[in-house]
Structures are given as structure tokens and as C-alpha cells.
Assembly symmetry: C2
Homo-oligomer: 350 residues x 2
DNA sequence: ATAATAGCGCGAAACGTTTAGCTCTGTCAA
DNA sequence: TTGACAGAGCTAAACGTTTCGCGCTATTAT
């Protein structure tokens, strides 16, 4: 039904090889170029990706494996990845493992089955099984947001510690001593990092941490809401709160409002992620912003880099155990976040 | 590098054809089955999807084209679609056109280039160019959430009118006359339908619509926030408000809280989508719920149906202009929403 | 005028499957 | 005992590309 390169060649009175050459950016004389273009147009010819893939051993597709499709952070990141990759004509297979490691393995198997050329993965737990699978399949793997111990792969991270430290310091400077912090799940990398930042700020300020003000959640809107309620129901509630992702920020604000508390009058507040929100809500929130866009972009670029490296090595002689790409040392990109200046922090009277 | 079916055949001392037969569910005698399984395991063999696709003329992938990846509704739907399709070993290519029709066309071209077996599309506008492209390529197309005039394709819709009417009626029954409604963009199908429902409820109640209480937005959190502010700053503000999607619901609640209004004391409220939220927030919100999960599920099933129909017809003689699948009349699935019983509506004193 | 060279185009062999149609083996009914 | 038949496996031809290496033509240098 659909036209093949053979049809194009026939219509243009040329050989298949010549048409193929043209399609892949090769040079043909003008008259032929015109003939080919015309034939392609008339036949509505499209390259058969499978035939091509069979020859080139590439699917021109990459897999993205994330914990959940319901976190704004993930979606924004994916959006950036997709943008970058589609520019190079790569398609993106998105897999959501719902935070469960066994699903993560299943989905990774699925991606490998689909023969993606590479994988960008945001680990759901500290399990490295899925990551190992990709490595074993010999395709490039990029880790984002969270590294994995003992997995040698490129990674794109945010300097969460510094960011959380900056946010906490800001609150300490305003005179707050009991600062509530709404964290994610206790065993997750970003939670640990952000919490370290929180501790470090206290240490640098020579203040003692109010450890009852640390609340773990599941990074969800509901989690943020509940955490805030819990914090405010302490016998000695915090005078300031730091939420550590978008969903908990929204949830916390809802709870704050519901409780009739005013920001910053009754409670100082620093949120996380979601620039758009901070500019709109009154008073403008002081927020810790992750460079989400950049994370996705960098991850995609890193991956594309690996893929072309693979490409090149294929035409040369390649070692038995993997391509030259393996020779390129693993890179770890650490991106800096930043703190916006809102008016959601009030000075404590001393 | 990677093992092929040939390697498996060699190791199992069988022909390629036999191995292929086994892989595709055919029957082989027990001893051979064991040998094949062992060889596959040892070689870590995986079917080469491209070689297979080249023969079968299927990619086992489908495209999903949506207006924006940042709307919870879309993501939840995609999640359901993906779930359903991956069960059948289909992969899902997600394309976000950022609400722009020209992007929609570009992305559709991309999907066709990638030779997806079918497309599920939530139209971004009333333009049917992209839809036509899919149809012209001869692949099944399923429209979700919004139909397209003069496009004969299966569709999965929600009975928005009835749902919005029910929500409005609930408010009218409580004695409210000036009901603010936060709509989406004016020219979008769901906006029109939900607004019709709003009008119909008024009509059925023999009450005159307060047309200054109708506010259009872009369905975003910010939009909801602003719309609510606008409504409440009217000389005669509404006594109740209906938001018509998840994002505007969240935004509106934020604005309500910010303004120091109490629900339902100062303002009655009905939200839209996002079950999880309604159960948590106090007071529990009365909400209009779309069966998002079901939409995705139905769309996927409809598509799978078309694909297998195509399959079958291929082995028989098929007409020149498309397959027998074209003979199956286009189906329109209309799903019902439902209203939760919260306590965010207060009776007006008469 | 001739040799060297560069630029294009071509033939043909792969890539790893699926599948139609054949052969072979063994079983069972007559 | 033989013929029919079923079950299992095999051979070989496709599917639509890319790409290597060769041959042809025309241009330039000698």
C-alpha cells in the first residue's frame, strides 16, 4: 500500500541506492534531486523506520523511566527531554513505575524489548536492578535527579543540599529557630540531601535543630496538607515551614489557609518548585527553584552525546566488550538551584 | 553482538522456522520447547522488533497526541492508556502540542513518520488537519474528550453537559441564584458543553442566568485564581462558584482562602476532577468527577479493537480503499460523570 | 592527447524476522 | 500390510532499507 523507496526510484528513473543516498543527506546532481523530491511528494513516500532500523541497528527511540507521571517535576522534565530529543528525530517512550521497584524492572524489560537506543531514568528507590539491566543490554543510561550507588552511569543532579541550606538559612537569618520541614519519603536521595542542607544550615548558624519539626511525607499534595496540620498541632508549633517539592507546597498552603493562618504574619513559609505559582500568589512566595527544564535538557544532550559516540565507534573497529563510548568517562552534571525573593518570610521579634 | 533467532536455532539444533513458531505461540514437541527455552535463556535472546515489524508491517506502538502534558486530566488519562496498551505489549509515544494547532500537525507528522499503528488524540482546537493526516495514512484514530466536526472516527467522550448541569442544579437547589462559573477557553468543546449544562440547569430551574458570573480562563491554576478574584470583585459577587477542571479548582480554592472566605459559610463551592483532593480537604468538597481512568481505558480498548480488526482483514482479501476495519461503523462512547457529596454547599437563607 | 582524478550512480548483499508450502515420521483404520 | 492423515520441522522467499565497492563520465593537469 504505502510507497517504498523502490517506487520512488522507479518514478525518478534512478537506482534505489541513489535515492537512499539523497534521503540520508548525500549529494546528487540537481536534476535528480528534483526528480526524487517530486516522486517523494507524489507518492507521499515515508522512510520505513523498521527497515531502516533493521539495517542501522537503531530504533531512534529512547526510554524514560520515572517513578510517577503525576509529579509536576517529572512531567516538566519529560517535557524538556522530549523537546530536545524530538529535535533530533528521536521518539520518547515514557514509562511510569508507580514508585514500585518491581514495576521498574518490568518497565525496563519492556523498554529493552522495544529496543530503545538509550534510557533516561529517575530511580524510584535505591535498587539498582533496573539500571543494571540497561547496562547489561549495552545501551547508554543516564540517571537523573537521583544517583545510584555503584552504578557507573552519567547523571544529572541538582545541588539539593545547597538549595535546601540556602532556604533554611534564609529562615534562620530572619530569626526563626523552630523551622518545620516537609520532606519526601525518608529513604530517598533528594529527601536525604535536602534534609542535610537543612541540618547544615542549622549547624552553620549554631542553632540546635528542632527535630520534632521534621515531617516526612510521600511528596504528594495530601502529604503536604497532612504534614502541615501535624506540625501546627505540636505543643510548640514551628514559626516557619519549608516544603520540599511542588505538591507538598500546594498542600501545605491549602492547610495553612484552611487553618486561617496568614503568611507571613502567623507563619513564615518557603516553598519548592513551580515558578509560575510563586509569581501569582499573594504574597509572593519565597521559593527554592530547581532548574527542571535544564535537567531534562542536559540529560537529553548527554544521552545524544553517548549515542553519537556509539555511532562513530561502530564504523571503526570496536572492542568486543562494548564500544568506544565506554571509554568516555562517566560524567556527573550538578546543577544549581536558586532561591526567589518573595515576601513570605517575616522577621521574628527577638 | 545481540543474539538472533539464528543463534537460538543453532544452539537448540533446530531450524529458524521452528524457533519462530515457538516464539509466536506455536506448538513444538516438549524436548524442543525445553531446548529453545534454554537457548533463549542462555543467549539472553530478545526478538528484534524491527525485523519483526518489517515483516508484519506493524510497529506495535501507538501515538497519543494531547494539548498539554501539564494537565492532570491528560496525565491521568495517558496513564490509563499506557497501562492498557502495555498489557498488550504496545508502546506509547506521547506528544504534547502545547495547545498550538501547528504543533499538533508537526507532532502528528512525527508520529506517522514513526509509523505508529494507531493514534489516540485529544484535539487542541477545532482544527481537524492533524486528524485528517492520520486518516489519510490509513491508521485508526480515536478521539478523546473532544470530538471533531466532520471527522469520522471513534470517540470517547464524557457527558459534560449532564455533569455540569447536575453540579449547577445542586447549587440552585440550595437557593443560590448568582453562581459563578470558571470555564476553560471559550472556543473549546468541553467549555461549551459544560457551559450548556450550566445554562440548562438555570433554565430547568426557571431562574435567570447571571451572565456576569461567567468567567473564562485557560484551565490553569493561575487562571482559576484570577477568575475567582475577578468574580469576587464584582459589585454583586456570586454566592457560589463552580470550577470546571482540576487546575482551576485548586487555583480558585487558593484565592478563596487568600481572600479569607470560608467554605461554605461565605461562599459555596463545587470543584471538578481530582477525587483524592476532595476526600482530604476540609470541608470535603462537592465535586464533579470525570471518569478519567475509564476514558483512557475505553480509548485504548477501542483502538486495540480496530487494530485486531485490521489484522484479520489483512489475511483475507481486502478492498483497495482500506481494510475491512473501515466497515465497522464509527463508535462514540459517552461516559457519565458523577457528583460527590461534600459539604461545601450551604443553603441560602431565603 | 592522454593520464589522473573527482563526482555520481548502480548492483548486490546484508539486516533478523515471518510464513507458505513442502517433507518427513509415525499412527491408526481398513 | 498399506494408505491416509496428522503433527512437527524445514526450506526459502520475502519485507524495505543501507552501504560497500565498483564503473562510468567529465573535468583538469600535464
Amino acid at each position: 500500500m504505502a510507497a517504498t523507496i523502490k517506487d520512488v526510484a522507479r518514478m525518478a528513473n534512478l537506482s534505489i541506492a541513489t535515492v537512499s543516498k539523497y534521503i540520508n543527506g548525500g549529494h546528487v546532481i540537481d536534476a535528480n534531486r528534483v526528480a526524487i523530491e517530486e516522486a517523494i511528494r507524489q507518492l507521499d513516500y515515508r522512510v520505513n523506520t523498521m527497515a531502516r532500523g533493521l539495517k542501522t541497528r537503531r530504533t531512534k527511540s529512547i526510554g524514560v523511566l520515572i517513578p510517577s507521571v503525576r509529579m509536576i517535576f517529572c512531567m516538566d522534565m519529560i517535557s524538556a527531554i522530549e523537546d530536545e530529543l524530538s529535535r533530533e528525530d528521536f521518539s520518547t517512550l515514557i514509562c511510569d513505575c508507580q514508585g514500585r521497584p518491581e514495576q521498574e524492572e518490568r518497565k525496563m524489560a519492556f523498554l529493552l524489548e522495544k529496543q530503545v537506543d538509550g534510557v533516561i531514568m529517575m530511580p524510584s528507590s535505591s535498587s539498582s536492578v533496573a539500571a543494571r539491566m540497561a547496562l547489561a543490554a549495552g545501551i547508554p543510561l543516564i540517571l537523573v535527579d537521583r544517583p545510584l550507588p555503584d552504578i557507573a552511569a552519567d547523571s544529572v543532579l541538582v545541588d539539593n543540599m545547597t538549595l535546601a541550606k540556602a532556604a533554611t538559612t534564609e529562615l534562620l537569618r530572619a530569626g526563626h529557630q523552630r523551622i518545620g520541614v516537609i520532606c519526601g519519603p525518608e529513604d530517598i536521595y533528594t529527601t536525604k540531601q535536602r534534609l542535610s542542607g537543612y541540618y547544615e544550615a542549622y549547624e552553620a548558624d549554631n542553632t540546635q535543630v528542632a527535630s520534632d519539626c521534621i515531617s516526612f511525607s510521600d511528596y504528594s499534595l495530601e502529604g503536604g496538607y497532612k504534614s502541615l496540620e501535624k506540625l501546627m498541632s505540636l505543643t510548640e508549633p514551628p514559626t516557619a515551614v519549608l516544603a520540599t517539592n511542588y505538591e507538598t507546597t500546594i498542600g501545605a498552603i491549602m492547610a495553612i489557609n484552611r487553618a486561617g493562618l496568614r503568611i507571613p504574619g502567623d507563619l513564615s513559609f518557603v516553598g519548592f518548585d513551580g515558578l509560575d505559582m510563586s509569581t501569582l500568589i499573594k504574597p509572593e512566595l519565597t521559593m527554592a527553584l530547581q532548574p527542571v527544564q535544564q535537567i531534562g535538557e542536559q540529560a537529553a544532550k548527554l544521552l545524544l552525546g553517548r549515542l553519537t559516540a556509539n555511532n562513530k565507534s561502530d564504523s571503526g573497529k570496536s572492542s568486543i566488550y562494548g564500544s568506544d563510548a565506554d571509554m568516555i568517562p562517566k560524567r556527573e552534571i550538578m546543577l544549581a538551584g536558586k532561591l526567589t525573593q518573595g515576601s513570605s518570610i517575616a522577621k521574628m521579634k527577638i
